[in-house]
């Protein structure tokens, strides 16, 4: 449907404003573009993410890469992905101390001297839940799950009621003050469909974030999931989250 519309627009533009030579040049450019070059079939993929908390060093590269790649508004209360630092004092394990200075975009200044407890980092992002509460509550269906398992938002359709933001148990959504529409991680869908991995995975210096195609039998994610004890955030929410954590501490919420 989209392709047809685009074809129509291109043809219309050619007819209206272009000479034959420039139109041929445009066609050449379009054919060379990565989007047209990849034969991406949604039905052949089912995307998820694996995060190995034992590898995460809280560098914040993922947050920076995400903000840059996706033009996320540069203010400290809007994040498609962010990193939290948990500190659990063994004498008071019920009250973890959590911080995420500017979403961890600049890393974490040293705060806890060695031996004072347990400290670890937890990157967060949209869980692209199979039974996502955000898509359930959207009054116009502007947020939806694609056939390849990614939850997206149609910004031309979103009414900006913020019900999805309330419904997300993980705090992954925000209202973009520039467009007045909901926004969140897309798993860099524009990259996935061109055969690239999400910016956060590419930028992680420790290899803590791995995109996983659960429909691809050759994806090493299957072996990883089989050999590690994986957990999702807030399993009691029964959202069938698709961001799987290795080494997730029970204190993490």
């Amino acid at each position: 449907m989209d392709k047809t519309r685009r074809d129509f627009l291109i043809l219309g533009t050619r007819l209206l404003v272009m000479t034959g030579a420039t139109a041929a040049a445009l066609e050449h450019v379009l054919n060379g573009a990565p989007e047209a070059a990849t034969e991406y079939k949604k039905a052949e993929h089912w995307w998820a993410m694996i995060i190995d908390l034992e590898k995460c060093i809280g560098a914040g590269h993922c947050v920076r890469a995400c903000k840059t790649e996706n033009d996320v508004i540069d203010e400290p209360m809007f994040f498609r992905t962010w990193v939290e630092r948990y500190h659990i004092d063994m004498e008071d394990p019920d009250h973890p101390i959590v911080d995420s200075p500017d979403g961890g975009i600049n890393g974490f200044p040293e705060k806890y001297p060695d031996g004072s407890g347990k400290t670890f980092f937890v990157p967060k992002l949209c869980n692209h839940c199979e039974d996502s509460p955000c898509t359930q509550v959207c009054p116009v269906g502007a947020t939806f799950q694609t056939d390849d398992g990614v939850v997206l938002i149609d910004k031309d359709y979103c009414v900006g009621c913020r019900y999805c933001i309330q419904a997300c148990p993980y705090g992954c959504r925000y209202l973009d003050p520039r467009t007045h529409t909901a926004d969140k991680c897309t798993l860099c869908y524009h990259r996935l469909t061109r055969g690239l991995i999400p910016a956060c995975c590419e930028a992680c210096p420790a290899g803590a974030r791995q995109i996983a195609d659960l429909k691809n039998p050759n994806d090493p994610a299957h072996e990883y999931l089989r050999t590690h004890k994986m957990q999702v955030l807030k399993p009691q929410m029964a959202t069938r989250a698709k961001v799987f954590y290795n080494g997730l501490d029970g204190a993490v919420r």
Binding site: F78, F79, P96, V140, Y157, C161, Y163, Q166, T181
Partner: protein
């Protein structure tokens, strides 16, 4: 981060739903409550509340017309809101609002008011000249048959509409409660009690509002109020309030006893950031005190003047309490982190799009609309003479209608 204690997920620091969304359940609650009071007379034949019947219907209409306004002011793209009607997402609780609203407005309230007022509309049209005549003739929709058989049909259909209206009023406000109660991500909201607590608090607020309006209008018109009517209305207010209070206490006790994973965070919030609005305004001043006053009027015999003063005090405190309840649900539900590890602060702007000024204007608007409706469709003093007695052409212009 200023205004934040402990840890919030970064995207949670700014509240999503503002004071305008506090007004949305408050206003729809007043609508549903006013209608339930009206139906007492119509369906349950409580004749004592007859003087408030039409006032209650017009109050419900005035507030219902304003109900979508705070939502529209809040939306990021109000110009797309009609998409909820054209392409509703069927799994969304919110998508149903337009349909519930239109059903209630067009099928219940407007029809009932028109049937109730058809006779005075025809009479006024016949007794008037010029523009007034045209306006009233238009309002009759050309249906000017005032024969006893025709009026009987009005009455019967009106009764059926009211009977449909009662579950519709329950639907309207139970539904608003469901919008909050079905959000499983938020433990402050997520309870099956929410629709029913919203419903009963709606009935309480609507009855209190109509009672206050009736007393105020009698005072403005300098006519003596029907004390039996006010006594009866306040009695129903008391009963509804008892049920509402009991339901809220059941919910509270359940939460305290069950003490699930969210309890500590919510308990701390109620004792700190929500203390004034929840404990002081909602529970003590807005519930216990008016309930005590209403109980006293049932048990002790005060003079009628003293009773009216007590009813006014109780009514005003009730409205403050129910408004505080809406605030505590909507704002309170966003002050704590879904990580249960921290709290944020709600800063209300003043002359901003979702600030205090638009909120005040939204709350004043229904009173303006009600004033117009009262002028157009006076609930009192129908034109006394009927066409059966005197030919229409001989009728004077006054007709008793104000």
């Amino acid at each position: 981060m200023p205004g934040v204690d402990g840890f919030m997920y970064p995207n949670e620091i700014e509240l999503q739903w503002s004071v305008l969304i506090v007004l949305y359940p408050f206003i729809t609650g007043l609508v549903a409550g006013a209608f339930i009071l009206a139906s007492l007379e119509r369906v349950f034949n409580v004749q004592a509340v007859r003087p408030t019947y039409r006032l209650a219907l017009l109050t419900a209409l005035a507030f219902l017309l304003v109900a979508p306004l705070p939502l529209q002011l809040h939306l990021g793209h109000p110009e797309r809101s009609f998409e909820m009607l054209l392409t509703p997402h069927t799994t969304s609780a919110m998508a149903m609002f337009g349909f519930v609203y239109l059903w209630y407005l067009m099928v219940v309230l407007v029809v009932e008011i028109w049937l109730e007022y058809r006779k005075p509309l025809v009479m006024t049209a016949r007794q008037s000249t010029g523009a007034k005549r045209l306006i009233y003739r238009a309002l009759t929709l050309g249906s000017d048959n005032l024969s006893p058989a025709s009026l009987l049909v009005d009455d019967r259909v009106g009764r059926v509409v009211t009977i449909i209206g009662i579950p519709s009023a329950f639907l309207l406000h139970g539904y608003v409660g469901f919008i909050f109660g079905s959000v499983k991500a938020n433990p402050w909201w997520s309870t099956p009690m929410m629709p029913i607590v919203f419903l009963f608090s709606a009935i309480v607020s609507g009855i209190a509002l109509v009672m206050l309006l009736y007393i105020a209008i009698c005072s403005i018109r300098r006519v003596s109020l029907d004390i039996v009517c006010v006594d009866t209305v306040s009695k129903y207010l008391f009963y509804a309030f008892l049920v509402d209070f009991s339901l809220e206490m059941i919910d509270l006790m359940h939460r305290i006893y069950e003490a699930d994973e969210s309890f500590r965070a919510l308990d701390f919030m109620v004792k700190t950031r929500l203390f004034t609005s929840q404990i002081v305004l909602q529970i003590v001043l807005g519930t216990v005190v008016p309930l005590g006053i209403l109980a006293a009027t049932q048990l002790v015999s005060f003079s009628s003047k003293a009773r009216v003063r007590l009813y006014v005090t109780a009514g005003l405190l009730t409205l403050i309490g129910i408004l505080a309840m809406r605030w505590n649900v909507v704002i309170g539900g966003q002050l704590f982190s879904k990580s249960f590890l921290g709290y944020t602060t709600y800063k209300v702007g003043f002359a901003t799009r979702e600030g205090l000024l638009p909120a005040i204007l939204v709350m004043l608007l229904p009173f303006g609309i009600l004033t117009v409706l009262l002028k157009l469709l006076p609930p009192w003093n129908d034109p006394e003479i009927t066409i059966d007695e005197i030919p229409a052409v001989m009728m004077g212009p006054s007709g008793g209608a104000r």
